[in-house]
Symmetry: C2
Subunit: 313 residues, 2 copies
């Protein structure tokens, strides 16, 4: 079983970009023709929405497969639809894997002991041993304590998968608890230090471990400091694009080779056809071309203004 960080970095080098496309199907934002068509096939509202989510995400995956190394489905939107949404999520992940994309499932799970292990066994892994959801990596919440991260680390390591632990989130109120300071060290720094230890322990021959950290682009100073303090930790950086983070804000998240981080954009790509700069040119019918243009724009932006330029040879 190959190592998560090695697989991720091979994919980043192959696609020559650290751009990560979030899959955030929001019913009110989807191309109307996809929703309309699903509703003609399903009278149940949740089944119709799930069918629309699945078609939208699979077509979006096909648009971005030639361009990016990885996708990040947001579990919440699928779960909002009940079991029909869960099935759609599994189908979407399966399709992304079949396209050789790295799949980071954004589900922010966390629990204790054998319960944490159940989440890890269900959500992380490939075809052998069988994992029903088959994500390459999973986002994990650290509040319960370092001992509760270990089952996720163990399962991920055993299966060639990874986890990304929430360290510094991108929301406006992230500081409420994460900035609480003891002996001059803030909570998110303490969590970061534990994550770096786990990353180092799982780095094997690689520079990076299979334990990563989520650090928001909306806090660039913290991002720069964490990158320096966590040299073995791959970063997942949300908050670029719709949430206000810029390429300059995320530049510090990379090492000099342009590795060590993936930068996520969800809404700005998913619903690019609704944005002013693409709406007129493409419109609803050509939403996939709008998504492609937005993805290419993000890739250029990162290549122009961050060490990700080193990936483009």
């Amino acid at each position: 079983m190959s190592h998560f960080a090695q697989r991720l970095h091979a994919a980043i080098k192959h696609k020559q970009t650290p751009a990560l496309v979030g899959l955030d199907p929001r019913l009110s934002q989807l191309p109307p023709q996809i929703v309309k068509s699903a509703r003609t096939r399903h009278s149940d509202a949740n089944l119709a929405a799930a069918a629309a989510f699945e078609e939208f995400c699979i077509r979006l995956i096909d648009v971005v497969t030639p361009l990016v190394p990885a996708v990040k489905p947001q579990s919440a939107f699928f779960e909002e639809l009940g079991p029909a949404g869960s099935q759609a999520l599994a189908n979407v992940i399966s399709h992304a894997r079949s396209q050789k994309l790295i799949v980071i499932l954004d589900a922010k799970r966390g629990d204790i002991g054998s319960t944490a292990e159940a989440y890890a066994r269900g959500l992380i892994g490939g075809a052998d041993p069988p994992s029903p959801w088959m994500a390459d990596a999973l986002t994990v919440n650290p509040y319960l304590g370092t001992d509760t991260l270990q089952p996720f680390v163990d399962v991920a390591t055993e299966r060639g998968g990874g986890i990304y632990v929430l360290v510094r989130t991108s929301n406006p109120g992230a500081s409420a608890f994460q900035d609480r300071s003891e002996d001059g060290q803030k909570l998110f720094e303490t969590v970061g230090s534990e994550v770096e230890r786990l990353a180092r322990e799982t780095s094997a021959e690689a520079n990076y471990g299979c334990v990563g950290a989520v650090v928001g682009a909306t806090y660039p100073a913290e991002l720069a400091a964490l990158r320096e303090a966590m040299p073995h930790t791959p970063l997942l950086v949300p908050g670029y694009g719709s949430q206000g983070g810029t390429a300059a804000d995320v530049a510090s998240s990379f090492d000099t080779s342009g590795l060590g981080a993936v930068i996520n954009s969800s809404r700005a790509i998913n619903f690019a056809f609704r944005a002013e700069q693409y709406a007129t040119e493409f419109g609803e019918e050509r939403w996939e071309e709008a998504a492609e243009a937005a993805t290419r724009a993000m890739i250029s932006d990162l290549a122009d203004l961050t060490p990700a330029s080193a990936l483009q040879t």
Copy 2:
């Protein structure tokens, strides 16, 4: 739409106990005949396990319905089986609701803004407006910040549901981050104080709000202090039974009327037929009688040694 804490307390008074039965289907622990029977009906391993989980939980619900006010399905075990498990979970919740039990879904969700709202809309609620999972209440992780709790609070309030925020968890390593101290206040106390504020704001005419707190029985001193500091906050207390918490340990979680807390036991009831004191008398075939005996023993224990005695008139 009636208020969550009022509904919960009406159910507690009706059943005269604060005992909460966790639904923790673990494949290796289930009565073998249920697993065997499911495997004759389904060749796919996950479908078979999901069918076994559903049968086990539904029969267990029927055993405890006359005895307790509420059940707490653990989402992780269902998710471990993929979409088949998700469907089983929905069926189990639906059955519990049809038996008029309060359902607290233990899924420890947490995310930002509209993503948090998607979780809340999907997981919390009744038949109208339709919520596909239909939990009365949901456990929520606070790490991302107070602003990320608000969407859960808003949806819960609007639908007569509730949330239980993780404050002090029951695992051995809970202190790693939760005990970090700033200006003499530990993180879990700060989170508790925010939760109490939200509970007070949502208490309306009731003594308690629809925002509760998870506080482990394995830390009795912290439990007593939090009960005192959080007078409007209903508590969900895990860690009784298999994890080592005793009735004496949880006694401080109640108000003088025996209200304000539910005490959870999962494994000790689910798999009572495997425990020494019940194995000989009941055995595998009579696992339901073992579960009933274990539930009655817990109810007596709480009535004998805690203010829950006030419920038994």
